[in-house]
Subunit: 326 residues, 2 copies
Amino acid sequence: MRIVVLAGGIGGARFLRGLQRAVPDADITVIGNTGDDIHLFGLKVCPDLDTVMYTLGGGINEEQGWGRAEETFHLKEELAAYGVGPDWFGLGDRDFATHIVRTQMLGAGYPLSAVTEALCDRWKPGVRLIPMSDDRVETHVAVTLPADDPTGPGERKVVHFQEYWVRLRASVPAEAIVPVGAEQAKPAPGVLEALAEADVVLFPPSNPVVSIGTILAVPGIREAIADAGVPVVGLSPIVGDAPVRGMADKVLAAVGVESTAAAVAEHYGSGLLDGWLVDTVDASAVERVESAGIRCRAVPLMMSDLEATARMAREALALAEEVRTS
Amino acid sequence: MRIVVLAGGIGGARFLRGLQRAVPDADITVIGNTGDDIHLFGLKVCPDLDTVMYTLGGGINEEQGWGRAEETFHLKEELAAYGVGPDWFGLGDRDFATHIVRTQMLGAGYPLSAVTEALCDRWKPGVRLIPMSDDRVETHVAVTLPADDPTGPGERKVVHFQEYWVRLRASVPAEAIVPVGAEQAKPAPGVLEALAEADVVLFPPSNPVVSIGTILAVPGIREAIADAGVPVVGLSPIVGDAPVRGMADKVLAAVGVESTAAAVAEHYGSGLLDGWLVDTVDASAVERVESAGIRCRAVPLMMSDLEATARMAREALALAEEVRTS
């Protein structure tokens, strides 16, 4: 079975681990979000790709869900001692190596997809991980900074998504979210081919706006999913009207979508999505989703451990099978 | 008193600490060797500048004489895990921050001299540290690789000085030593001015070929020292026919100079050097050096502790005064 998964960071990575447990023999291609990539200290940092790579490769800090296990932060301390910022992005000493290797390879002319493949040669994530695009796409967020913000109290400003998410902790509304560069970006080599050959496409409980939404903003990807003619099934990142983790509600508001499992399904739409899993606490949403033309089931959606996550993956594949044979 | 010191790495840095102890109120400008600079992992590394900066700024690893105190090597371990080399150059996690800040500033268009000044803003070495040049100079060494060398057994090859010094540990003869780029290099801003305003110029017991020799290879510096018309006094890095530390004998042989205190003085020559300190064990060399037209004294030259080093600095300044008033 050939499965293509569109993935953001922590939520996508953890779901993938469950999927691997559920179908160990499946051929899994992950199209990774690169819209939250950021240049820090002259280095190219790809947080979502790395979270997938580290998680599936056994190098992740399990507690926080991002960054490396057994990490130290001496380099970061020294950068702060030099007064060189930003200081709000948590790059560890081990993690830095990934960014240094990536930056050096990019500087030598390799595209991000080739670099990602080379990095995965070490981590052996058990999936084929492809960035959505080799072209630079950076999600920017228009905000009004908090009244006590040190960088410009009360100012209207467009900030990098990471600054909104990590430094500001989404404490102010996202007034607009723009994946800068997406319109000019081309899908990375392998993306369209993987979609064309897929038996099923899954949307894990990743952020529907700044993760999966950004991937879908790359021209050609949405069309390739539709053209594949295979079941497309998603899992709601919203459980009981709140994000399972992260601050998806903040960015959903920016695109005028309420933070409910049903609204997210409608946001994707029946033109894209064939099936949708909501949590059992949202069982009442099933009817609304199905009336929007999307097959829907209510099952437990908390990725509390690997087995629970594998069950979610099995439910998603079962729903895909139901779609296929209907 | 305005003192200009031409310095390499460990020997120069330790001497400078003694000089500061000897004359705390002196205005010291250090012209640092950049011929052993190297690009590693896309980062610009300046080992000699950093050794001076860390030593005088209190950040040095005292035991090894280079690198940072309380250092860890996680990033380097990870680079090795990625199979990205070289693995023979000991960059620590804290040290990496210096190279990242430097590389980022160079990339933004600042010259190395401005970058060095910015780095020193943090370390406050108590001297003005100027690279010999803002232009790229890299010392290369022609060697015949050892018969068991993994990179090319028995091959004739030109390697970067650091590869010769650190990876090969000078285990094969240096057949030629070339400061690539030196002929086209210009002294960094401040170098010629400092020499013109100096009251005395000192050569610490740094390597006469690949440290001080490289600085002197930058067109204009040797002339500026001669034109300054002030005493130029050096301290022998050779004690009892062997280098005090390092492998200076290997590179002296490459330029046809024997490893003796007297031969090094003659190598600099009376056109450059006015005074020369040899160790007491080399007292018999005094006559030969003086017959070459260079005033010479035999004094203890082991930098065994700060006070012993300060005494060496006082002897050098006393010899300079003797030259001045003669």
